[in-house]
């Protein structure tokens, strides 16, 4: 038995063989020329597909299906990708699900922080009460914050692999809808769609709401109907989608979130006209 102190607490060479140092740098007797660079997320793993949202006269409607895919495998079928933040903001997540869960935790701690500083002073009237009780963080504020988080992470070469839609009401209680993605790019439009929806749903939504003026005339019912129709089209054509989805409506009365909607009135009549993939014509 090796009684030298250097050997204490180590696996015995005569039983386990000598220590495999190949992973160590050369300076430590290994084969690696230098340390591996630190690596960050370089691709998404479990992903969610499109998120759709549309503004209407008094608020915003947003939807995303409940599927989380592992490559082409439909891995989880009960993942809710719409996260309500407070009474006037909801965030919809496309892209990597683990990054979504990280952001959700971040938003929760932000919400706790926001509510921790209790209202200052006493509310003397109903007017005061409304002022004091109103959530401080509007959808617009939340979007500014999330865009900063996304941009910071891309700048650090450690991106959060998501495309977000932030929707709700701004500080003047007007409908608000804007996006932020893994590069920190932000923009706003009357209707928005991430991922495959940008190709398939956005043209349909733009027909309903071509500009801001059109959203002013759009009723909640019409908007919800348009979004549901788009979810159906996406299910027909997006191979990473499913027929169960979440939809949220945000207006003055708060957030109305439904997380187990099912697609209705599907018609696959068009399917028998599809032949193969592109080049096949027979």
């Amino acid at each position: 038995m090796n009684h030298f102190p250097e050997a204490w607490g180590r696996p015995r060479d005569d039983i386990y063989g000598s220590y495999n140092a190949s992973y160590l740098p050369q300076s430590r007797g290994g084969l690696q020329s230098h340390h591996q660079p630190t690596t960050h997320t370089q691709q998404p793993i479990v992903t969610g597909t499109s998120v759709l949202a549309l503004k209407f006269s008094t608020g915003v409607v947003i939807a995303a299906d409940n599927l989380a895919s592992y490559g082409s495998l439909a891995r989880f079928t009960d993942v809710h990708r719409l996260k309500p933040f407070n009474k006037r903001a909801v965030v919809g997540f496309g892209g990597d699900v683990s990054d979504m869960q990280y952001l959700d935790r971040l938003l929760n701690s932000l919400d706790v922080e926001e509510n921790y500083t209790s209202p200052t002073g006493d509310a003397k009237s109903d007017d005061d009460r409304a002022l004091v009780d109103a959530p401080l963080m509007s959808a617009k504020n939340l979007h500014t914050y999330l865009a900063k988080v996304m941009y910071k992470r891309r700048t650090d070469f450690n991106p959060l692999w998501n495309a977000l839609l932030v929707c709700g009401l701004d500080e003047k209680d007007q409908p608000f809808l804007a996006s932020a993605d893994l590069l920190g790019t932000t923009f706003s439009a009357p209707s928005m769609a991430t991922g495959f929806g940008a190709h398939l749903a956005q043209p349909l939504l733009r027909r309903v709401a071509p500009d801001e003026a059109a959203t002013q005339e759009l009723s909640k019912e019409k908007a919800v109907e348009a979004i549901k129709e788009c979810m159906k089209v996406l299910f027909y054509r997006d191979a990473r989608s499913m027929n169960e989805y979440s939809v949220a409506v945000i207006d003055q009365s708060g957030v109305e979130l439904k997380e187990d909607e099912k697609l209705e009135n599907q018609s696959w009549a068009f399917a028998d006209r599809i032949k193969g993939y592109g080049t096949q014509t027979v």
Binding site: Y70, G71, F157, L183, F196, H199
Partner: protein, 265 residues
């Protein structure tokens, strides 16, 4: 089509069911540059300075690939002034290229100009602001803001001042400059119409006798019309330009903003 899917589909996710999954980086060893931190959001900007004014203009389309992100995403920003609406600002920045960097740049310059007024008790001059913008850009020389910036205002004598930049902070004062996706379409037009390049006095002789016309500052109406013409033409020939034309006209009265619809196709 490949470019359509690059952004929305996982390129190397596990378990592809078809043979065309990318294979070129299956070799061992560390893979690099899987994440590229830039994108191009298209669009075009231009600026022209006159004797008593400067005009900056930009289209309001935001694109990624063949997609239109938004038909109204301004590329022109007031710098300085009061509060988030920049009331009373006299300097305008236009940025085109990677919009996220453009926004970050705008916010840094705006904050810096506001701190300047807070610390010095006076508005910053365009000339000082222009140099500072150059330093901000050069400060990120090795991870640049991927934008072409144009800064406009009035100089100490009240004359139009226009500064153009490259992404790493090289800058100069000019009469006019076009930047962005359609800059190669617009700039030659401006060379000819503003700086009167290749224009000769018809009364002068032939050959070596020909006399170049001398450029002079143009009146405001002429410049506004030039800008409109430049953009309506660019919209015809470039898919990333369109939707709306935002103009900011800086005079001693302040900044006047106009919006004109462009073709949405």
């Amino acid at each position: 089509m490949a470019s359509l899917f690059q952004q929305s589909m996982p390129s190397t996710g596990p378990g592809y069911s078809f043979a065309s999954a990318p294979t070129h980086h299956s070799s061992s060893g560390p893979r690099q540059h899987a994440f590229y931190p830039y994108t191009d959001n298209g669009g075009s900007t231009l600026g022209i300075s006159g004797a008593t004014f400067t005009i900056l203009a930009g289209d309001t389309r935001s694109t990624s690939g063949y997609n239109i992100n938004s038909r109204y995403a301004p590329k022109l920003f007031r710098i300085g002034g009061d509060g988030p609406e920049n009331e009373g600002a006299r300097i305008v920045l236009s940025v085109v290229g990677f919009a996220a960097d453009g926004n970050a740049l705008k916010e840094r310059l705006d904050t810096m100009v506001k701190m300047y007024r807070y610390q010095h008790g006076k508005e910053i001059s365009v000339h000082a602001c222009a140099q500072r913008l150059s330093h901000i850009l050069y400060g990120k020389r090795f991870f640049p803001y991927y934008v072409t910036a144009i800064l406009g205002g009035l100089d100490d004598e009240g004359k139009g001042a226009l500064y153009s930049y490259d992404p790493v902070g090289s800058y100069e004062r000019e009469q006019c400059r076009a930047a962005g996706a359609a800059s190669s379409l617009i700039m030659p037009f401006l060379d000819n119409q503003v700086n009167l390049k290749n224009q000769y006095d018809p009364a002068s002789g032939e050959g070596l006798e020909k006399v170049m016309r001398v450029p002079e500052p143009l009146p405001q109406e002429t410049v506004e019309q030039l800008v409109r013409d430049a953009f309506t033409s660019a919209v015809e020939r470039h898919i990333e330009v369109g939707d709306g034309l935002q103009m900011m006209i800086i005079t001693k009265e302040g900044v006047q903003e106009t919006f004109t619809p462009l073709k949405k196709d």
